[in-house]
């Protein structure tokens, strides 16, 4: 990848130069990314077996952006997410059991089975919600930032969106509004190369999404979205700016989407991506990269990964079993919660 050369773009950071960060947070990064990977792989298996209703958009290969950004947040900070948002929610601290339960349509799900994969939310954990509308959550993040500031807090809001969302008018309106009102918000664009089924570069003008921040007088940072330390460092800088009253930042995390737009798309979508960019054989695996960075920093990343994978696999198995055993919602609940 190439970072933009403009004054508001930063060069790609190398994980090997972040020894103290890896010592302090490397294990937490690894645990969170492994948890997300296992969670998503479990959903892929469930879907393949016909065990899931609806549509699931998996975040495999995109773990580092969620973990890097959410690791830079404090309790009380808030995020809005996207249709592809399981990784954000898990990285923000939502429990796999409640996530599974929601995606399985159970009464114990975070949204009581009314939201599903695209509408998981846990406001008490600062996860105001995933969003089925591309770009739809971004102005909401601006409003959360306004509320944080007006309420006299130093809370920060993060609005995740994708490369598809980068072309939504409301996202540009949000950037402008956040800039003119100096809102404590961080805009995080996960550019995974495909807007649903269309190559991003074929529908996206200009020298890069991060560079669009310049037009609004905001800092724009392009980072390798498979490098969790680079994402973390960019996010920490942006969160600091927001928390100290210096306003908004746009971060573009560049990575590749390993899976399709959604599971099961092959029944109608056919092959629309170059095989050379699909899957772990050629894409950068953020977990592999972290393992190597740990090794470079003198930490036994191989053993750490194996240990955490074992622990998290047990968590995921137990969470899924509990979610599968949980009750279905009472059908009458379909008529509740429209109004207060």
């Amino acid at each position: 990848m190439s970072a933009g050369k403009g004054p508001t773009a930063t060069a790609e950071r190398r994980s090997g130069s972040d020894q103290s960060l890896l010592t302090e947070r490397g294990a937490a990064f690894m645990r969170s990314m492994v948890r997300i990977r296992l969670f998503e792989e479990t959903l892929a298996e469930l879907f393949a077996k016909g065990g899931l209703a609806g549509v699931v958009h998996l975040s495999i290969g995109e773990e580092a952006s969620a973990v890097g950004v959410c690791s830079a947040l404090e309790p009380g900070d808030q995020i809005t997410s996207t249709h592809r948002g399981h990784h954000h929610m898990l990285a923000r601290g939502l429990e796999p059991e409640g996530m599974f339960a929601e995606i399985l349509g159970k009464a114990t799900g975070y949204s009581r089975g009314k939201g599903g994969s695209m509408h998981v939310a846990a406001i008490h954990l600062g996860a105001v919600g995933a969003n089925g509308i591309v770009g739809g959550g971004v102005p909401i993040a601006v409003g959360l930032g306004i509320a944080a500031r007006q309420g006299g807090t130093d809370r920060v809001a993060v609005g995740f969106f994708g490369d598809g969302g980068a072309n939504q008018g409301v996202v540009h309106e949000s950037l402008n509004l956040a800039a003119v009102w100096t809102v404590p918000v961080v805009f995080v664009c996960e550019n995974n190369g495909y807007a649903e089924f269309t190559p991003t570069q074929s529908v996206t003008s200009g020298p890069g999404i991060a560079r669009r921040a310049e037009g609004y007088g905001l800092p724009g940072i392009a980072v390798d979205g498979t490098d969790v330390t680079a994402v973390y460092n960019a996010a920490a800088e942006a969160v600091h700016r927001a928390r100290t009253g210096q306003g908004a930042t746009l971060i573009e995390c560049r990575m590749q989407r390993w899976r399709g737009h959604h599971e099961g798309e092959e029944v109608y979508a056919g092959v629309y991506r170059e095989p050379a960019i699909m899957g772990p054989d050629v894409a950068q695996d953020p977990i592999d990269r972290l393992e190597q960075a740990l090794l470079d920093a003198g930490i036994d990343g191989v053993a750490l990964r194996a240990q955490l994978r074992s622990e998290e696999a047990a968590v995921i198995v137990s969470a899924l079993a509990a979610a599968q055993a949980a009750p279905l919602p009472e059908v009458e609940s379909a008529l509740q919660d429209v109004f207060a």
Partner: protein, 331 residues
């Protein structure tokens, strides 16, 4: 309390409709620091509902860029985040620009999260034809909001209704859209002491021959029509449906059962209008009391035209209300 004191007792000094909205907002802003105002030209307030607020609250009244989706969406987020935003989109026809944020976000968040997220947002916009603003500034999109669901909607026709319903809207835990008619902005009237809540209607005058359920400017015209009808010996009862969501069904059904003849007057487009919903509701729940089919009077299925003669032709008038009421009672 002396009669003289009672005559002036009022929670608001506002004696016109748009200033009554502004005064209700001001009083809520004094009482609750979470109330904040933003929108298009809210410091000037071309249409009046936020006029004067900036003088008292210079830090809580913000002009926005003309980005309805962005600033309504920010209102959704601010409401979720703990504020009580009052967002003025100037003309409710501009709701079409920000429909995703109003419908998919504000109107859906509570449900999608299993009731765990509240959106106490107020959105204000004018609704209705006035002064030849033509097709894109004159519509009454209330039926779209009702059909979308998750949104409360009020449409006051008097300063009293405007004051109390604005207060109720700001205090509500749900998103509320306040529609106000530009032709009623300067309507005079006293704000009385009896509060109105979301879901209330006002029945005035009462009558026995025919019920006229009417909304917004149409309610004002229906009251004038009732006076003319009385002079012709027809006793008309006007149910001012100043809250559309919740719909004041009890008042509507009660009047329908009392008179047995109902005319519904709505400035929305006829097809799938609020008038249609009211007529259907009466048909389902008060059919046995009806002496004649419910009659709808609404804007024909055309956009609002520009030329004054055309605009006047498509919007129900006092004369057309009188005519429809007369035909309904067989006079």
């Amino acid at each position: 309390m002396s009669t003289a004191t009672a005559a002036v007792a009022s929670p608001s000094r506002a004696n016109r409709l748009a200033p009554a909205i502004a005064d209700a907002i001001a009083q809520e802003m004094r009482a609750d620091p979470r109330v904040i105002v933003w929108g298009e030209d809210v410091t000037i307030s071309v249409m009046g509902p936020t006029k004067g607020l900036v003088a008292e609250f210079p830090d809580r009244v913000w002009n926005t860029p003309i980005s309805e989706a962005g600033f309504v969406g920010a209102g959704v987020g601010a409401a979720v985040g703990g504020l009580r935003p009052v967002v003025d989109i100037m003309f409710s026809s501009f709701a079409y620009v920000c429909f995703d944020q109003l419908v998919n976000q504000a109107g859906r968040l509570r449900y999608m999260t299993g009731g765990r997220v509240s959106v106490p947002l107020v959105v204000i916009g004018t609704a209705g034809a006035s002064d030849s603003n033509a097709a894109q500034h004159s519509e009454v999109p209330s039926a779209l909001f009702l059909n979308a669901g998750g949104l409360r909607v009020v449409f006051p026709s008097t300063p009293h209704q405007a004051f109390w319903l604005t207060r109720a809207a700001i205090r509500a835990e749900d998103p509320v859209i306040i529609l106000h008619h530009p032709a009623l902005a300067a309507t005079r009237g006293k704000v009385g002491m009896t509060p109105l809540q979301l879901g209330d209607a006002e029945v005035n005058p009462t009558g026995s021959d025919v019920s006229i359920c009417a909304i917004g400017l149409m309610a004002s015209r229906a009251r004038a029509a009732a006076t003319s009808l009385a002079a012709k010996g027809i006793s008309a009862e006007v149910v001012d449906v100043c809250s559309l969501s919740p719909m004041p069904w009890d008042a509507i059904f009660g009047s329908a059962r009392k008179t047995g003849r109902v005319l519904v007057v709505d400035e929305g487009r006829l097809t799938c209008s609020v008038a249609s919903e009211i007529a259907a509701g009466i048909g389902e729940h008060a059919f046995g009391a009806l002496k004649a089919p419910v009659r709808r009077l609404a804007v024909p299925d055309v956009p609002i035209p520009f030329a004054p003669v055309l605009e006047n032709f498509v919007v129900p008038s006092e004369a057309s209300i009188i005519s429809a009421a007369e035909s309904l009672v067989g006079a």
